[in-house]
């Protein structure tokens, strides 16, 4: 089933719904996601009862969550759904209550990209530790510079009885005062979005 057909079906089911075809997928608004997914899952025609993959992509001007839906009974698919949200306030309704398979994958996308899946029963970081700052797979993420002693490192070393030279300590304190952005300079990714 090609995206255009699905689009017309969905439009006849939900009149006035904004749907765009992007690549192989259908671009939806975040508010329509749950009802479209429910329709795709429960309608006798689609029976898209298997949510294979959820992931998020950082396109610099917005974040996109991509869903790959398949049907186990009819062996059709995929239906690709996309939802775009702004980078500064990424909120997408969660699909956990429709598909359990979303549980860990939404946590993963939240952990890596910082998209908040609203309604997820247990939206915590899954791979990174609690208290980790930033979202590692966003293109503007600045990884920690391993060669520089940061304030946390200084504290750790002192707790373990290592005397840190004053200049390093001063530098670490300055870094802390300057904030996260000062830690490492990396060129912004020059590539364009798809």
């Amino acid at each position: 089933m090609n995206p255009a057909e699905i689009k017309t079906k969905l439009e006849s089911e939900f009149p006035g719904i904004p749907i765009q075809i992007v690549g192989e997928g259908l671009l939806l608004g975040p508010e329509d996601l749950v009802r479209v997914a429910r329709f795709l899952k429960e309608s006798g025609e689609f029976k898209m009862n298997y949510l294979s993959s959820i992931t998020a992509v950082d396109y610099l001007e917005h974040l996109e969550s991509v869903y790959h839906l398949y049907s186990v009974d009819q062996r059709t698919g995929p239906v690709v759904l996309r939802v775009r949200v702004p980078r500064d306030n990424p909120r997408i309704p969660s699909l956990v209550h429709l598909f359990r398979s979303a549980e860990f994958q939404e946590r993963e996308a939240y952990d890596m990209m910082g998209i908040r899946y609203e309604g997820h029963p247990d939206l915590r970081r899954i791979f990174m530790w609690e208290g980790f700052e930033g979202y590692p797979l966003r293109k503007d993420y600045l990884p920690e510079n391993e060669d520089v002693l940061e304030w946390d490192d200084v504290e750790w070393l002192e707790r373990h009885g290592v005397t840190v030279p004053a200049e390093y300590k001063q530098y670490a304190q300055d870094l802390k005062a300057a904030g996260k952005e000062a830690r490492a300079e990396r060129p912004k990714p020059g590539a364009e979005a798809v």
């Binding site: 993959s53 790959h68 990174m128 530790w129 797979l137 798809v194």
Partner: protein
């Protein structure tokens, strides 16, 4: 189909549990049967599990970001390290996704070689996982060493072909790295011929063993609806009766040419997961026999892309996205790639079967004993390299 219940815990008012105190145990991260650094935060009533929270990420190495800063070929050896038991399947999935992205054809012989390697990998994975399951059950290393005895033979073939026993790094976009020599083909044929004998011995040791049966039957039952809804794939789903095998559904590569069947369990407990794996190995052997018989001569690399290996940085797939998935031994292994037209993928995502199959761990373990939690985890078949990518 009603939405599955997420928070299925025992009520405090449950008469059985009154006047007792729950007891919290961390199984892991260093524990003999968590198959790596994985932690289960378990609450116990006596020995009965009332809550179980998986905690992961101890082996997280940001595989996806490494791949996004790497040429497409440069990620190939990293995929070996995802599920380090089945590097060939991982290579296969990744190669399939990139080939879909860049629209590369694969020559006939290479397709056969890929299928042979993928099925050998399936044998390797399934025998070892059954061995480990039995280790979790308390059999003192005998099944696992019998399994490893056979696995060695296959790993020797991988070494002969790909250069390395586990980190194969064998598939290339548009083919495979090296052709099979006649000696190796002969060796694989011998292994395939000898394998059923080993399987019979293995089954004689295990399948009708009463202790194994009573330990595994009716433990960790995964119902059909939950299996589909939670996106469970691979032998685990098929043990619950979900007839969904990508080799049949997607018919990727050349799987449509082979005659084989998909064994399906009815109950979906640990025993079904164990036996479905055994039966799947027997089906894999059928595929291998057919593939080895029909394998044609010819090149193993698409000549247009043969030069690519010499300069991976010049490989720039067109803008677009692709989702390639294969039936890895653990389940559906998917690679989602977004290309921006440069030599590095813009987005590289792994749909790891180990991770998603673990979603239902708590549902399976509730109400069972600690000893059962261990074998349920063993029967889910996780590899932490893939789970934590």
């Amino acid at each position: 189909m009603s939405p599955p219940v997420l928070e299925k815990t025992f009520q405090a008012s449950d008469p059985v549990l009154q006047d007792t105190e729950t007891f919290e145990v961390n199984l892991g991260p260093q524990h003999p049967s968590t198959h790596g650094v994985f932690r289960m935060n378990v609450k116990l009533e006596g020995e009965t599990i009332v809550s179980l929270k998986p905690v992961m990420g101890y082996l997280h190495r940001n595989h996806e970001q490494i791949a996004e800063n790497m040429s497409y070929l440069g990620s190939m050896p990293y995929t070996d390290r995802l599920d380090y038991f089945n590097s060939m399947s991982n290579n296969f999935g990744y190669a399939l996704a990139v080939e879909r992205l860049a629209k590369i054809d694969v020559p006939e012989r290479a397709q056969y070689v890929r299928v042979i390697m993928a099925e050998l990998t399936r044998l390797v994975n399934h025998v070892s996982v059954i061995g480990f399951l039995l280790n979790d059950l308390g059999a003192f290393f005998t099944p696992v060493l019998y399994a490893f005895r056979e696995r060695e033979k296959i790993l020797d073939v991988f070494e002969e072909v790909a250069g390395s026993r586990m980190m194969c790094n064998y598939l290339r976009f548009g083919g495979v790295k090296r052709d099979l020599t006649p000696a190796v083909t002969e060796r694989i044929k011998k292994i395939v011929r000898g394998f059923p004998k080993f399987l019979d011995e293995f089954e004689g040791l295990l399948t009708r063993n009463e202790i194994l049966c009573i330990r595994c039957q009716k433990v960790g039952v995964l119902p059909y609806d939950l299996a589909v809804n939670a996106g469970i794939t691979g032998p685990m789903a098929r043990a619950s009766g979900v007839n969904y095998d990508l080799r049949k559904v997607d018919r990727y590569s050349i799987y449509d040419r082979f005659k084989f069947k998909i064994p399906l369990g009815k109950i979906g407990d640990v025993y079904d997961r164990y036996l479905v794996r055994i039966l799947e190995m027997r089906e894999s052997l059928k595929i291998l026999e057919q593939a080895l018989k029909e394998i044609p001569a010819g090149p193993v690399m698409n000549p247009k892309f043969a030069a690519l290996a010499k300069a991976p940085r010049n490989f720039k797939p067109p803008k677009g996205e692709a989702y390639g998935r294969v039936e890895a031994p653990k389940g559906e292994l998917g690679f989602y790639l977004v290309s921006d037209g440069t030599a590095q993928p813009w987005r590289y995502h792994v749909r790891a079967p180990s991770l998603i199959n673990l979603t239902v761990l708590e549902d399976l373990c509730l109400g069972h004993k600690v000893a059962d939690a261990v074998i349920i985890l063993g029967s889910i078949d996780i590899v932490l390299g893939e789970l934590d990518h």
